[in-house]
């Protein structure tokens, strides 16, 4: 059985948590905007959650099902942008490049599985 350097492992985990928490703090205040119907319908996703905006011209020009579709399109775009800002931890980059280390191999697999399950 391969020996595990527990101290190094604990340090790695601690650094990864610091890194992820700092990234979260940086992006927490970001706002993501999606638009539709020539920017007459807007969806904003940010610190205060989701907010839909409908311009008076959108309400005049569009039928109600067109308007509803435009809202869905704008919301999906804003949320797609928000989801796309995941970033890679340094430990993930190291694990991808060091395929000889058993811990890194298992870690890479576990992270890939978790990312695919968590993403919307």
């Amino acid at each position: 059985m391969e020996r595990i350097d527990l101290r190094a492992l604990m340090d790695e985990v601690g650094h990864a948590i610091e890194e992820a928490a700092e990234h979260l703090e940086k992006t927490r205040n970001q706002e993501f905007v999606g638009t539709a119907a020539d920017e007459l319908v807007t969806a904003r996703v940010g610190e205060h959650g989701l907010q839909v905006e409908i311009h008076i011209l959108a309400k005049r020009r569009l039928e109600r099902d067109e308007l509803a579709d435009a809202v869905v399109e704008a919301v999906r775009e804003a949320e797609r942008q928000a989801a796309d800002t995941t970033f890679e931890l340094s430990i993930e980059r190291r694990a991808k490049s060091d395929t000889t280390d058993a811990f890194y191999r298992e870690f890479s697999k576990a992270m890939a599985e978790m990312r695919s399950r968590v993403r919307m």
Binding site: R7, G14, I56, V72
Partner: protein, 143 residues
């Protein structure tokens, strides 16, 4: 007590009684079946869609089992009676209501593990850095 807690308690009893490995295998098997059942329940929740409404049910939003917006319906009275700003607010509320319905289904399912409702009122530590420090302290890790 929930089925999962029952199975866990059963396994714990067997272990304490100094049972054979075969007896423990049965108890572990029962616990695994319960967890599998719970996972199946979670998959069922995620495979469904959930609705939320606003403006006297004139605006209806539907999200999938992960909360992604699938569909929005704006009723004729909402279109007639609400101004653009009011309509936008109703759309936002309907989407949030749909996602709330989903999260209530999730919370109900999580509660089946303990057999008790999930406590959302007790404040918990949310900073992962502090959680990590707390964990190291619990483990008496001086590294």
């Amino acid at each position: 007590m929930s089925d999962i807690m029952d199975a866990l308690a059963g396994l714990s009893e067997k272990a304490k009684e100094g049972n054979t490995v075969d007896d423990l295998k049965d108890a572990v098997g029962r616990l695994q079946d319960q967890f599998q059942g719970w996972n199946d329940g979670l998959a069922a929740i995620r495979s469904r869609s959930y609705e939320g409404t606003a403006a006297d049910e004139q605006v209806v939003a539907e999200v999938d089992g992960r909360g992604a917006l699938m569909r929005l319906e704006i009723g004729p009275y909402a279109m007639r009676d609400l101004d653009a700003s009011g309509l936008a607010q109703a759309c936002t509320e309907a989407i949030i209501a749909a996602r709330t319905t989903l999260s209530e289904a999730m919370l109900d399912h999580v509660a089946t593990v303990s057999g008790e409702p999930v406590d959302l009122t007790t404040p918990v530590e949310t900073d992962p850095r502090q959680l990590w420090r707390n964990l190291k302290e619990t483990l008496r890790w001086n590294g």
